[in-house]
Amino acid sequence: MSTHHHIEQARAGCALHGALATFGAIEGVTPVIHATAGCGIQYERGVTPFGGALPPCAAWGPPVSSTNISEKHVVFGGGSRLREQLKNTVKVVAADLYAVVSSCATEMVGDDLQAMTKEGREQGFPVICANTPGFHGSLHVGYETAAKALIEQLPAAGTNGAPRRLVNLLGIVPQQDPFWQGHLSQLAQLIRPLGWEANVLFGTGQTVKSWQEVPAAALNVVLSPWGEKTARLLQEKHQTPWVSFAGLPVGPKAIERFLKTLAERLGAEHNPSAFRAQERALDAWLARLAPGYFQNGWQREFAVVGEFSLVYGLTELLAETLGLIPKLVVVTDPLSEEQQQQWLPQLESLVKPWSAKVVVREDAGEIADLIEQSGVELVLGSSLEREVSDRLGVPLLVVSFPVADRLILNRGYVGFDGALALIEDLGSALLQSP
């Protein structure tokens, strides 16, 4: 992507939007946006409608606190406007934590976020801040920045009682993974039988306290390239070890690998017989699928388009359990060259037996061309791939951001229940296609 000078239909917001998605997904946290009026509305119109379950804060409508700076502030600085907004946000909006986030305009003007935040703290407000101008990068970068702010600036929770058997889940980016809420619940469910509890950090029941417990965890579990920075920070700060997985645990092989690895790292008991029982139950479902599988022609060459960890997980289940043939894998998160070197080889080796093409692209036009050239008979991607799949007369299952034509609240594709959900969704897409 070194030659890129533009991205057609860019399918990820900016760093500011990532911070809004991240802070907003923690109950009781209110972002305070220091920006021109529309920055938060871009998020409200372009991210929240297409990213599955709304984060708790976004479920209240327009960005609840935004300085809406005008020309005067661009010329003379907007620091005093932020001071005023922060002071009044605390009075108007009920929250446990206020997270000040900045934008291109306020960073270019040079407003001092840290000083304003410090002032707020001195007045006793629970407030942290993150510098998140859009020019810092994609929504994913905002996720990393927001997580760093939470870890570095939240006052530590008092440790009372026995240490909890806790692992943190890192790398599921709220909304950019439209199944974020479902995936977090499913991951927690997978881990529970090991005798450990997952600190999922976002969504239902997750509060500032969940983040204050982050240092107490015994292990950080990195579920996408976007969780690694946070894991490294926690290792440095709290000496917490971490383990990373190339893909989400979708399908029996990945689930077993996930559980075995965690059990080993945590010194826990992986119960192979319980796993086998679940695997047999899945096989029984597959047997009941079989007639439809053949009648509806499930064995197809497919393209999958989406974020790294999801396309990895989906490809693994489709190829290694369901007998479909991967032909084209498009990773749409803007991975840096370093990240690509680190993460792509695992994906490439997964699809090597089928000589599938693996590319990192986010330009909708280029992706459409790749799909067209691939000659696939099935596409798993975002709603942006609807146009090309319709043109080719090929069924599309929408699994990645942006999702415009299906409703996702608590659904996910992780674990055995997730595998079954994916099979149902895929089968439905095949049945609905001409």
């Binding site: 935004s66 005008s70 020019f135």
Partner: protein, 476 residues
């Protein structure tokens, strides 16, 4: 005003005394506007606490979305483009203008990114071969002053195509409606060079980012008068803008959105701009139709058509579907002033009114509102749910009709709510749809009832304050 000059129009505050923050007596507001007709005479207000709200960039992008055969290059960091995902996704197979973003990073933002823009425009143009290319500026680009004009000048010749820059900034005006002016300014400046010598038979229907249902209804009304209609900019081709300069007259579907464009055609090519309300409710639709009829010499056709259509709605309106219901409106002003008719015609009472802005274009409408509801205050603010929640808590309306995301905050107070942008509102079809949707909202309150008494976003203290607490006079 003659041919639009300069990169961008002057902002709405200076042009029309537009206010985006006010809460108080309508009469007091009217007195302020009466202090002088043409100069800046109202006191600008600001908020010391605010929610996010749309800006000129978002509105400009919406308008451009409806122009086919065009591509849009959004010059800025990627976040400035993300709302455009709606454009592709909600188009659901219909033609939509392609868009791309130059995805500026920190270095490009600091050092300037003219070269990047040039490469993006050329590559995107070559891929899709459109009739026109829009380049849209963003806050970051407005601040570091990238030289968009030289890219336009160079590439127009090199590619042999029309390239139109739209200088959005996100901060030049406090109101998002300025985005309509920005696009209209650039369109007329670039595409209407030589007004035709002769007048044609058609009339211009000024339609900016309207829903297709409302646009179709307006066209049906004009067709009923036997008028040939040129709709623009929604759905218009490049050649239509030059053609529009030869029209008999222009009629806006929404005078807030269409005012700058209509005035530009009037000033550049002497195409009269009709002064009409938005055709909403029987009263508003009748006035719109009769004004158009008078300008076209089709008065009797207009009267007859209205009589027929109104008769067909008599049964619905006699049933008074909103009988006795207290209705809160939170809408863009031209729409709100029209929906006031609808509420009355369906038997409801307006309990409160929020408009996204007010300016000199609304004085007649506000006088009518003042006459009809002298006891009611007017609230001016786009997206300011905290003020609305405060007002709603006091006014306890039976129904909320809104066009913004803050509708959720009304619903979560347990108030039945209708999201107006998704239903037809214009003309006779609008009467039918409004009567039906609002009646359904009142018929079954089960969904919103689940929120009543639940957790609230705002601090208890806020509900003790007066709703105008955070609106202050601006100190220059």
């Amino acid at each position: 005003m003659s041919t639009p000059a300069g990169r961008a129009p002057i902002n709405r505050e200076k042009r029309l005394n537009t206010l985006s923050a006010y809460l108080g007596e309508t009469s007091a507001l009217l007195r302020e506007y009466a202090r002088g007709e043409d100069e800046v005479n109202v006191d600008q207000r600001i908020r010391t606490f605010s929610h996010g709200k749309p800006d000129d960039l978002l509105v400009a992008l919406e308008v451009l979305s409806a122009i086919p055969d065009a591509i849009t290059v959004i010059h800025g960091p990627r976040g400035c483009a993300v709302s455009q995902l709606q454009r592709a996704l909600l188009a659901r197979g219909r033609a939509f203008g392609r868009w791309t973003v130059t995805d500026l990073d920190q270095k490009a933002t600091i050092m300037g990114a003219d070269a990047k823009l040039r490469a993006a425009v050329a590559a995107f143009y070559h891929r899709y071969g459109p009739k026109v290319v829009f380049i849209v500026a963003t806050p970051a680009v407005a601040i570091n002053n990238d030289d968009i004009q030289s890219v336009v000048d160079e590439l127009s010749g090199e590619l042999g195509t029309i390239i139109i820059p739209i200088y959005a900034s996100g901060f030049t005006s406090k109101t998002s409606v300025y985005g309509y002016d920005l696009v209209a300014h650039s369109l007329v400046k670039t595409l209407v060079k030589n007004p035709p010598a002769e007048r044609g038979a058609w009339v211009n229907l000024l339609s900016l980012a309207e829903s297709s249902g409302d646009r179709d209804e307006a066209r049906r009304l004009l067709q009923a008068l036997g008028l040939e209609t040129l709709t623009l900019p929604d759905g218009a081709g490049v050649q239509d803008f030059a053609k529009a300069a030869g029209a008999r007259f222009s009629v806006p579907l929404d005078f807030d959105a269409g005012h700058y464009l209509g005035r530009a055609f009037q000033d550049v090519a002497q195409v009269p701009l009709l002064d009409v309300p938005r055709p909403i409710g029987l009263v508003g639709t009748r006035e719109w139709l009769l004004t158009v009829g008078a300008a076209a010499g089709k008065q009797s056709e207009a009267r007859d058509f209205h009589a027929r259509e109104a008769a067909a709605l008599a049964e619905i309106l006699e049933a008074q579907p909103l009988r006795g219901a207290k209705v809160y409106l939170s809408l863009a002003p031209a729409t709100a002033l029209g929906v006031l008719n609808l509420v009355k015609e369906t038997g409801g009472h307006v309990a409160g009114l929020t408009v996204s802005h007010v300016d000199q274009l609304h004085l007649d409408g506000l006088r009518k509102f003042q006459d009809q509801s002298p006891a009611l205050q007017i609230h001016v603010g786009e997206g300011q749910g905290f003020e609305e929640a405060n007002l709603l808590q006091r006014l306890k309306p039976d129904l909320y009709v809104g066009d913004g995301g803050q509708l959720v905050q009304a619903a979560r107070l347990g108030i039945p709510s209708v999201f107006l942008p998704r239903i037809p509102v214009v003309g006779y079809r609008g009467v039918r749809a409004f009567a039906r949707r609002t009646a359904l909202a009142l018929k079954n309150r089960a969904f919103v009832a689940r929120f009543a008494g639940g957790p609230q976003l705002f601090a208890d203290n806020w509900f003790q304050r007066s709703a105008h607490w955070h609106i202050k006079q601006e100190v220059k």
